[in-house]
């Protein structure tokens, strides 16, 4: 396991000495910022309107306006969408570049297990995601000075984001391992993530049969995430993300095992 650490350190070094990590962090922060601003403004207006209406009717102000649910949960959902675009950018390089430069041959002929190489790279990419999430804590933090927030759903939201990111990164690493071309790796990853995401949309159209609906919604990578964002931690949901991650990494081990370059 010491080898995982060596690989991890090199990858982190590469992320932060090349522009990629900074590009991803900047993009994420800008997009999250816009969503947060828009949502918060909307919320404030709706809240003001509702309070005004209540006063006119001579009733007490509506207590159903919950900032945690209406702003933070929404923010988590949007961060998930942003991840869909950003994870392929982070993972596309990881193996494709080594395949292309031929350094994979050096790496795999060192006395290191394939899984150690994979885990090192996986954890490095996941760490960059974690850094990005850490930056986004400023929004709920700022909000908590303005209004009361529940800590529970915020924590589970971040847990969900991490699990979602780990499944995404796993898929990204797999596609990076099967090609020498970073663009191909990124495109395949994005297409796959988008497909898993859109399963949710299929469910919402209500046009498919009910058995299929059930299957689709359990396979959809986003419907399960909404539970976390709303403060519901379900063991099944967590297992879903972990098994997607595990399966993707398992496939990657097999790819490395049968390298025929």
């Amino acid at each position: 396991m010491r080898n995982v650490w060596h690989i991890y350190r090199r990858e982190i070094g590469t992320f932060f000495t090349t522009p990629m990590a900074y590009v991803v962090m900047t993009l994420f922060t800008i997009i999250a910022n816009v969503f947060f601003y828009v949502r918060t403004t909307q919320f404030v207006q709706e809240y003001a309107n509702a309070t005004l209406m209540a006063q006119m009717r001579g009733m007490p102000p509506d207590m159903n306006f919950n900032a945690t649910e209406l702003i933070v949960a929404f923010m988590f959902y949007q961060m998930g969408v942003v991840l869909l675009f950003l994870v392929p950018m982070l993972t596309m390089r990881l193996f494709a570049e080594e395949n292309q430069m031929g350094t994979i041959e050096l790496l795999l002929t060192c006395p290191v297990r394939d899984i150690e190489v994979i885990l090192g790279k996986f954890l490095a990419a996941l760490s960059v995601c974690a850094v990005v999430f850490a930056i986004s804590i400023v929004y709920p933090l700022w909000l908590s000075f303005q209004t009361a927030l529940e800590t529970g759903p915020i924590l589970t939201g971040y847990l969900g984001l991490l699990l979602l990111a780990s499944a995404f990164v796993g898929i990204g690493i797999f596609f990076s391992s099967i090609t020498e071309n970073q663009i191909v790796a990124g495109a395949l990853t994005f297409a796959t993530l988008l497909f898993l995401w859109l399963l949710a949309a299929l469910v919402q159209t209500n046009t498919v049969e009910s058995g299929l609906t059930e299957f689709l919604s359990s396979a959809s990578i986003i419907l399960r995430f909404q539970n976390f964002a709303q403060g519901v931690v379900n063991l099944g949901d967590a297992l879903y993300y972990l098994s997607v991650t595990g399966f993707a990494l398992f496939l990657t081990v097999n790819v490395l095992d049968s390298k025929v370059h």
């Binding site: 080898n3 060596h6 690989i7 090199r10 070094g13 590469t14 000495t17 090349t18 430069m101 031929g102 350094t103 041959e105 050096l106 790496l107 795999l108 002929t109 060192c110 006395p111 290191v112 297990r113 049968s258 390298k259 025929v260």
Partner: protein, 318 residues
């Protein structure tokens, strides 16, 4: 130290390596020689555990490379073809990274890296990015990476390809120095390189071993007939006649490029191991011609190589 038995590797329809067997003893330097695409790199990739063999087996330091890959790999320092490196790392960072993956402990690491840079002459570029180094220096860094964990076996795939003549000589010296305490397999398609560095050569063509010999023995084995190069001054036809009649010879051929005014060069093939030199000299002088030069011609390794490959291809075509 290294034992290869009946190794075969197929990529789909194509057979890259076809039943290769050879042994390398401890401390030996073996040259793997063959034209491009002969299966040298594939053999090396199997030995280093990067590719699985289709059939047959290979033992490195007593470990089967397929079933005990990790143990086998611990003994090997490998430099793949074209020396892949991480361009955005400094030499020192790169070597430290490789040392850590090869199990050099944290305490030993900086000393091991310093020693590897010292013996490859890369100490003064330690803090430069690899992408800013010349091809010769990258090759040195590749060698440094191979020896950083002080392995007892070195496997070097075309270590001098793409270098200029001075760099080639430098790298060759480096390899000779590194080989003193180690077992080395080195591949090349350039003969002088192998004959200068290696004690023994395995020649591979189309995935098969064509010859396995010491460099000296190889020349002896192939040169069954004596050839004499002779240069004399006088009438060309007359000299040729004298040479033909001097001794039982198989062929006398006229060659271009006399070195003096009115001189002619001939190649005399004795057709046997019989030494013709004295008889030829006497005959030429006796007939009143000036003998300017006489020399026994030994086949160069290039000629042997080409000859071997040609007979092998002919046999296959038949």
């Amino acid at each position: 130290m290294i034992e290869v038995q009946n190794l075969t590797k197929q990529y789909g329809e194509i057979t890259a390596v076809n039943g290769i067997s050879f042994r390398v003893e401890k401390g030996e330097i073996l040259g793997l020689l063959g034209p491009n695409g002969a299966g040298k790199s594939t053999t090396m990739k199997i030995l280093t555990g990067f590719l699985p063999a289709t059939s047959g087996q290979a033992l490195v330091a007593g470990h089967n490379v397929a079933t005990e890959s990790l143990q086998a790999r611990r003994h090997i320092g490998y430099m793949p073809e074209n020396t892949p490196l991480y361009p955005n790392m400094t030499v020192r960072r790169y070597l430290t990274f490789m040392a850590s993956l090869k199990g050099v402990t944290a305490r030993e690491r900086s000393r091991a890296v310093a020693a590897a840079m010292e013996s490859t002459g890369t100490t003064h570029v330690a803090n430069r990015l690899i992408k800013h180094l010349s091809k010769g220096y990258r090759q040195r860094v590749g060698l440094a990476q191979a020896i950083v964990s002080d392995p007892d076996i070195l496997i070097l795939d075309e270590p001098t390809i793409g270098l200029d003549p001075t760099q080639i000589i430098e790298i060759r010296h480096l390899i000779s120095a590194m080989a003193q305490r180690r077992t080395v397999i080195l591949s090349s398609h350039i003969l002088p390189e192998v004959s200068e560095v290696c004690e023994r050569v395995v020649i591979i063509n189309r995935g098969q071993v064509v010859a396995s010999e010491t460099t000296k023995g190889l020349a002896r084995q192939l040169q069954k007939t004596q050839q004499v190069l002779i240069e004399a001054r006088g009438d060309r036809v007359a000299i040729e006649k004298v040479l033909r009649e001097a001794a039982p010879v198989r062929a006398v051929t006229f060659e271009r490029g006399g070195t003096a005014e009115g001189s002619h060069r001939f190649r005399v093939d004795s057709g046997s191991e019989h030494d013709l030199r004295a008889e030829l000299a006497r005959a030429v002088v006796g007939a009143g011609h000036d003998l300017l030069h006489l020399e026994e011609h030994t086949l160069s390794l290039e000629e042997i190589f080409v000859q071997l490959i040609r007979t092998e291809s002919k046999r296959e075509a038949a």
